[in-house]
């Protein structure tokens, strides 16, 4: 069992989450017609053995999407933060108070 430290709910079993894959994918703008950029975003993955930033959604908790940095060999989890940049900034602001 992975234990994921949700920034909103605290540490939870990974079975409360669903896996969303590589968080480092750079998607083109939705109206972009750059086929190569779409091909790379949809199909190509770094797939590292080692630290990997990936998306998880806390389905059975706060339902927020979070970015988890996890080692794909040891399964050690280094960090978990909100995927939404505005929410992340707000959370950091509140933590600094």
């Amino acid at each position: 069992m992975l234990r994921i430290p949700c920034p909103f709910c605290g540490e939870r079993d990974h079975t409360e989450f669903s896996y969303g894959g590589d968080a480092g994918v750079d998607y083109p703008q939705i109206d972009s017609t750059d086929e190569k950029a779409w091909y790379e975003a949809v199909f190509l993955r770094e797939n590292p053995r080692g630290p990997h930033k990936e998306l998880w959604q806390h389905n059975y908790g706060c339902r927020m999407w979070i970015v988890v940095e996890r080692d794909t060999m040891t399964h050690e989890i280094f960090s978990a933060e909100p995927a939404h940049p505005g929410v992340k900034a707000q959370l950091e602001k509140e933590a600094a108070k």
Binding site: M1, L2, D13, H14, T15, Y19, G21, D22, K36, Y39, E40, V42, F43, L44, R45, E46, N47, P48, R49, H52, E54, T72, M73, T74, H75
Partner: protein, 421 residues
Amino acid sequence: MTRYSAWSVIRNGLTGQKGWDRAWRDPEPKDSYDVIIVGAGGHGLATAYYLAREHGIRNVAILEKGYLGGGSVGRNTTIVRSNYMMPGNTEFYEFSLRLWEQLSHELNYNVMFSQRGQIVLFHSPPARDAAARRANTMRMNGIDAEMLTRDQVRQRVPHLDFSDTARFPIQGAILQKRAGTARHDAVAWGYARAADSLGVDIIQNCEVTGVLREGGRVSGAETTRGVIKAGKVGLAVAGNTSRLAAMAGMGRLPIESHKLQAFVSEPLKPLLDYVVAYALPGGHFYISQSDKGGMVFGGDLDMYNSYAQRGNLPIYEDVAGCAVALMPCLKRIRLLRQWAGVMDMSMDGTPIISKTSIDGLYLNGGWCYGGFKATPASGWCFASTIANDAPHELNAAFTLDRFERGLQIDEKGAGPVPKLH
């Protein structure tokens, strides 16, 4: 190489089993070869064997970072079948099954291929339609398939859950009689012995740390046992394909590495004569009984990227639930072992056997759940691709650039989400 025969078994039985030679050599790597195959798993060993036998290319080295057959060829649930329906897959897997049927004789090594038949269940009227379509597609391609009614399934495997309270009520099944199982380690050992006897060097404990290039062309490999030159290099390292491709300068691939678990129970008296499988939203499961009596089974992936060859407990629970939903009589059996292998999950669920953008570098990977049954055909096609610098007609669709060209072969229709294939 001494040929194995009934006579050699009797003779050695009478002389204290002292007359057996080792099955393959343990050579030092030479400075250069015509072809290097990276990875002494089923596919790498089969490739080297067919390079030597079909194409006369015998100056071949197989480089293996660990020990021969220590990866996914020794970690699967040993099922062999050809029940595919997409063009590209259908003929490839059927060709593989035909090679399986001759394999023990061909290799002079008993791979214990047992064509006990595979029963794939369906549980609803729409699933019956989908099954009928699949069975018809198979038959139109010359592959054996029979539709079974609920009663016909019950006659064959009476101890599945046919009760009124069954979690997944059985409506019927597709039976492929020529499908079955094989002894997975024996496949690796048989190909290794046969390739070695044709002059192929199998070099274990030799990890590739870099792919050498001269003027844009491949010129060999850097390894933990020194530099080895070669005009052509073939990668057959499923699980680690992305890493080797990055090492070779190919950039990113349409592959994610996931782990898949397998389980074996304590040995039981003969209980299950067929391979039985089912897949539906909420359950995915396949089971057979080994010759030693253990129930061998598996289910879904662990569902997140991983290179760890060990599984997690939630899937353990999920698979156990699937097992009991299918065969309530398994409820009290104890598990003997459980393990995980690393799968190349490709973006369309279909493998890649292809030339690459680099001259002299060839790629074999992306096998998802299905690498074991493909072993003979994969080796056959990869050898042909390397020898002729062009794909065999059977792997012409398994190109690396099919994703960019919109020619994916998505058997399951799951889209570009590797964990779902």
